[in-house]
């Protein structure tokens, strides 16, 4: 179970993700999409899920029983090769429905700086997910 005290809290992501042109090309190739300078809209989820795994597991979530319920992206600036990024996680809500845990969680993607002070405050992508932890 997610610890109730983390609801509403933003967990700062310290991991820096470096986006490569090759990883964008591999993603585009997998879905047969013409490769372009900017990443496909859902590409951001590849780093978001890594950030979520670390922040949500440490908040008590049973990651192994998780399924993805819904997903929303707001793309202020699309990702590109060479971007160095970090992802903050905010656990917005937790509901228990029919024995399942519904976790509403937001990711905010920022450009990473060399330290906390120089990290940009400008959000590139904001994404909302509902993750369902199946009871059992």
């Amino acid at each position: 179970m997610i610890k109730p005290e983390v609801i509403g809290r933003t967990l700062r992501g310290e991991q820096v993700f470096t986006i490569t042109k090759d990883s964008i090309a591999a993603f585009s190739n997998a879905i047969g999409q013409l490769n372009s300078e900017v990443a496909p809209p859902t590409y951001a989820f590849t780093i978001i899920i890594t950030a979520f795994e670390s922040s949500l597991k440490s908040s008590g979530m049973n990651w192994d029983r998780m399924v993805h319920g819904d997903q929303k992206f707001e793309i202020i600036q699309p990702l590109q090769g060479g971007d160095r990024l970090r992802v903050d996680t905010t656990i917005e809500n937790l509901r228990l429905v029919a024995g399942n845990e519904l976790v509403s969680v937001r990711a905010d993607i920022y450009r990473a700086g060399d330290n906390e002070e120089s990290s940009s405050q400008e959000v590139l992508i904001r994404a909302w997910s509902t993750l369902v932890v199946r009871g059992g």
Binding site: S23, A26, F27, N29, A30, I31, G32, Q33, L34, S36, E37, V38, A39, P40, P41, T42, Y43, F45, T46, I49, T50, V67, H68, G69, D70, Q71, K72, F73, E74, I75, P78, W128
Partner: protein
Amino acid sequence: MLKKDDLQVGQLLAPASFIVNRKILKSYADASGDQNPIHQDEEFAKSVGLPNVIAHGMLTMAFGGRYLSELADGPGSIKEFSSRFTKPVVVAEGEDVEIIFTGKISEIDGNQIKVDIEARSSGEKVLGMAKALLVIN
């Protein structure tokens, strides 16, 4: 490709169909980092109660992103994109499974349009409430 000057609310968007098979599931798993065995290992998928290997929900959504990118002027035109994962796309060994996308313009505001899209596979809706906000030039 959609052009700003000839758009109407209620207008249907040209449909598109994409193929998913086991090879594509492997490529997507490698490209996305999601190596959950329910998307690749038939025995494992069946052991957890699934009918067979299923596609990643995010792969179906990624095809939706491709659909929108090709309607508009590339992936940079997509400002918002959301969807529910309602039904899994089941992918049996050796099969090419078709996902058919259709869409409709629900709102126009200057050079921004809102669209509702639908994704169907084997007659079933596989994405729910899928919507996007696009910039059209």
